[in-house]
């Protein structure tokens, strides 16, 4: 394919994907729509993280913290913090908080980008990990602003779109409400909100990365020395990448707060930062389309892994200690009341297998398939 053909093909795939996103809720249950809303939210965070890590080569193990900043910005603007003794009154409608969440997180990202200039590789990974570790304690420290460990309840607030939903007569049907003349259930609304922002974020990331800025990012990733000698300012592009990336995470965090209708320090645990990194590795570093699969992975695998053991009723064997057979690897003993260890092990094994089969992530698979098609056409035309 020529670059022009490639671009047309890309547009076509994106348009087809947008159509699928639009009609999907017709084919899934109301609750599933909520699950897929979380996929959209994770996609936004993964796009941001991939700009930083995949394209600019700066590892961040602390993106959950930027999500927390966005999430708390949204929650505080909606619910206010006067109830804890803070200065901010309630009253901002949920969707208007999202740009601010992105902005605030983005500024934190820029600010963090400056000291990060002096760090690279493993040291940067550790420094970013430190913010993820410090975030929950910081939130608790400023209890009068953040509500401390108890968190901020958003459910039922008038600021939450759809909180005025009317329950229908049938107890099995979900409550509905209207926005701009369209009728939504709360779950469908969340789905469309998350995915319209996610698709816009995707297009935005593509625009940033295709031109001069994206080239500079890749130059920094591939060789800092070469980048500097061709006139790319390391300071400028590294901090820019941090800023953009954190802004994406902030918007995702704000949406996460709206979708959960609740935030507390544990809404954004350290594990979230690691899951996000796993998401971009699975999706493929330095690519955008594979991230959709990465987001599905982040949203569903832990749930699926838990379903493998905890099912509908609690099997006492798993809780109390039992031998579980795993093909090829043999028998494992899970023991102790606090160790329904199954889910974590299932998760780990799937991850390892995936890295064996798809070393370049799903994005790498997409590229291989694309190349195969190009090669065939090339050889045929010869």
């Amino acid at each position: 394919m020529t670059p022009r053909e490639q671009r047309i093909f890309g547009f076509a795939v994106f348009a087809a994907f947008a159509v699928i996103v639009l009609v999907l809720p017709q084919f899934i249950s109301d609750f599933r729509a909520r699950d897929y809303a979380y996929v959209g939210i994770y996609l936004i965070a993964l796009l941001g993280l991939n700009i930083l890590t995949g394209y600019t080569g700066q590892i961040s193990l602390g993106h959950g913290a930027f999500m927390a900043i966005g999430g708390y910005t949204t929650a505080i603007l909606m619910a206010g913090n006067e109830q804890f003794g803070g200065p901010i009154p309630s009253g901002m409608q949920d969707i208007w908080t999202l740009p601010i969440a992105g902005l605030v997180a983005g500024l934190f990202g820029l600010a963090f980008g400056l000291p990060a200039l002096r760090l690279s590789g493993l040291y940067l990974a550790l420094a970013t990990f430190a913010i993820a570790v410090a975030m929950p304690s910081t939130v608790k420290r400023f209890e009068e602003h953040t509500g401390g460990g108890q968190g901020i309840q958003l459910f039922g607030l008038p600021e939450l779109t759809g909180s005025n939903a009317v329950a229908p007569a049938d107890p099995n049907a979900p409550a509905t409400f209207e926005v701009l003349g369209l009728t939504f259930t709360q779950n469908d609304w969340m789905y469309y909100l998350a995915w319209s922002i996610a698709l816009a974020a995707f297009a935005g990331a593509w625009l940033i990365l295709r031109g001069r800025t994206g080239r500079a990012f890749r130059a920094v990733r591939d060789s800092e020395t070469a980048a500097v000698s061709s006139g790319v300012s390391l300071a400028r592009y590294k901090t820019l990448a941090f800023g953009i990336s954190a802004a994406y995470a902030g918007v995702a965090g704000g949406l996460f707060a709206i979708a959960s209708a609740f935030v507390n320090p544990d809404t954004f645990p350290i594990a979230l930062s690691i899951f996000l990194l796993v998401g971009i590795v699975v999706g493929g570093l330095g690519g955008l389309s594979g991230l959709v699969v990465g987001a599905i992975f982040v949203a569903f695998l832990p749930l699926w892994a838990q379903g493998q053991d905890l099912g509908s009723v609690l099997p006492d064997s798993v809780i109390q200690g039992d031998t579980v057979s795993i093909p090829i690897l043999g028998d494992f003993l899970f023991k102790g009341t606090s160790a329904p260890g199954g889910p974590a092990i299932v998760y780990g094994i799937v991850l390892i297998l995936l890295m064996f089969v798809l070393p370049n992530g799903v994005g790498g698979l997409f590229r291989r398939v694309g190349q195969a098609i190009t090669n065939r056409r090339y050889s045929r035309s010869k």
Binding site: G149, Q153, S260, F262, N264, D266, T337
Partner: protein, 409 residues
């Protein structure tokens, strides 16, 4: 003539037979109820800092399985879905939405933790799904029943419990100086406030109070500060992991106060752990309160209820430690739930469930101490309002005085 009439009757009968079931089926079938099962669900900390509470869900589940093996309640099996929330309210929110909207449970049952239940209460009351027998003693479950009609508690409120400790300390020690370690949420604050109320103007007072966060790793610095206050009574209002730490740290610091430990950690299995194999003498003399029969207490060796408890646990929760009192709690709440469902009759609805839950009169729960009744009614939204003070003496609990009863909450 006669034949025509009987044909008409037959036709009418046939028509009725078709129409009637349809009319009934269309009327008020709430989610989670089928001809053969009633599905309930709840979260439990199967992992995380409060994982020792997972035994509660296991105990309840064992009791439900026993009832199911006998044909269930009104010919319906009770299906109890337990979801892990790692004692993290953010996870509780998602898990409970999943239970309600995807698994379509009839009621959310015995979800554990004050914060977790606060995080889901607004949601459940909006969608009108019962939040039945909340596994937390926060006073708000009973106090705010008018505002949250779909929520009801179970165990004695922390307000009642704290009051009893205060009154006990005022009686037992003159001019006591009390130091308090408490969890920084409604649960800890309820206990602390009512403890002060119970001390009243007796001359004994709280000289130091230190909070810890659920997510913190240990309570070492808090215990050190409390010791420095010079107190001679140490109140531990903490969940099991932190309570055990409190005993260990206080002992290492050489502090020898009278210890009052709250009911959620004042169980024999926790006391044994805290005693560090007999090395920690601080546990001796610890005062706490309970409503449950202690499985390690020789008094209940031949008790019918506890015999059934051990049999059911061995059969339906293989490998579970029968000395773990939380299993008894689970069975006690399971027992009340089953009798509640029995009283609902053949066509249970969520509305009827809450109405019945607010008019319980049950005096014979085999897993609760004799004399402890489960009772709700007009103006009384606290199911259990009694308890028994007990003292840890040479490796087991000994009752102190008779049952206490709380009038208000």
């Amino acid at each position: 003539m006669i034949r025509r009439r009987s044909a008409a009757v037959a036709a009418f009968g046939a028509a009725l037979a078709f129409v009637l079931p349809a009319a009934f089926a269309g009327s008020t079938a709430d989610p989670g109820i089928s001809a053969t099962a009633v599905v309930i669900g709840g979260t439990s900390p199967l992992t995380g800092p409060a994982a020792s509470y997972a035994s509660v869900a296991r105990g309840a589940n064992a009791y439900f399985q026993f009832v199911n093996s006998r044909g269930g309640v009104n010919k319906r099996r009770i299906e109890y879905r337990i979801v892990d929330d790692a004692y993290n309210p953010a996870q509780t929110v998602q898990a409970v939405r999943r239970l309600v909207e995807q698994d379509r449970v009839f009621a959310v049952f015995n979800t554990l933790g004050t914060e977790s239940n606060l995080a889901i209460r607004d949601y459940l009351n909006q969608v009108k799904v019962p939040q039945l027998f909340v596994a937390s003693g926060a006073t708000t479950w009973g106090r705010d029943a008018a505002k949250y009609p779909w929520t009801i508690g179970f165990q004695p409120s922390y307000a009642a419990e704290g009051l009893v400790y205060g009154q006990y300390i005022a009686r037992a020690r003159k001019q006591a100086k009390v130091a308090v370690l408490f969890q920084n949420d409604d649960y800890g604050k309820d206990l602390l406030a009512s403890l002060k109320l119970g001390l009243g103007r007796s001359g004994s007072k709280v000289v130091a109070a230190e909070a810890y966060q659920v997510t913190s790793s240990d309570v070492g610095s808090q215990v050190a500060k409390l010791k420095a206050s010079g107190a001679n009574v140490f109140c531990i209002f903490a969940t099991p992991t932190f309570a055990i730490q409190a005993y260990v740290f206080a002992n290492r610091l050489g502090w020898k106060p009278l210890v009052v430990n709250n009911a959620v950690s004042g169980t024999s299995n926790i006391m044994v752990l805290a005693s560090e194999g007999g090395k920690n003498r601080l546990v001796e003399g610890t005062v706490t309160t309970t409503v449950l029969k202690d499985p390690t207490d020789p008094r209940w060796k031949k008790d019918a209820g506890m015999k059934q408890y051990r049999a059911l646990l061995a059969k339906y929760a293989k490998g579970a430690n029968p000395d773990d009192v939380y299993h008894v709690y689970g069975m006690a709440v399971g027992y009340e739930t089953v009798s509640l469902f029995r009283r609902l009759g053949a066509t249970p609805t969520r509305t009827a469930l809450m109405a019945r839950a607010r008019s319980i009169s049950s005096a014979k729960n085999p897993f609760l101490l004799p004399g402890v009744s489960v009772k709700t009614g007009k103006g009384d939204n606290f199911p259990i309002q009694q308890g028994q003070l007990q003292r840890w003496t040479k490796g087991r609990f000994v009752a102190v005085g008779g049952l206490w009863t709380s009038k208000r909450n």
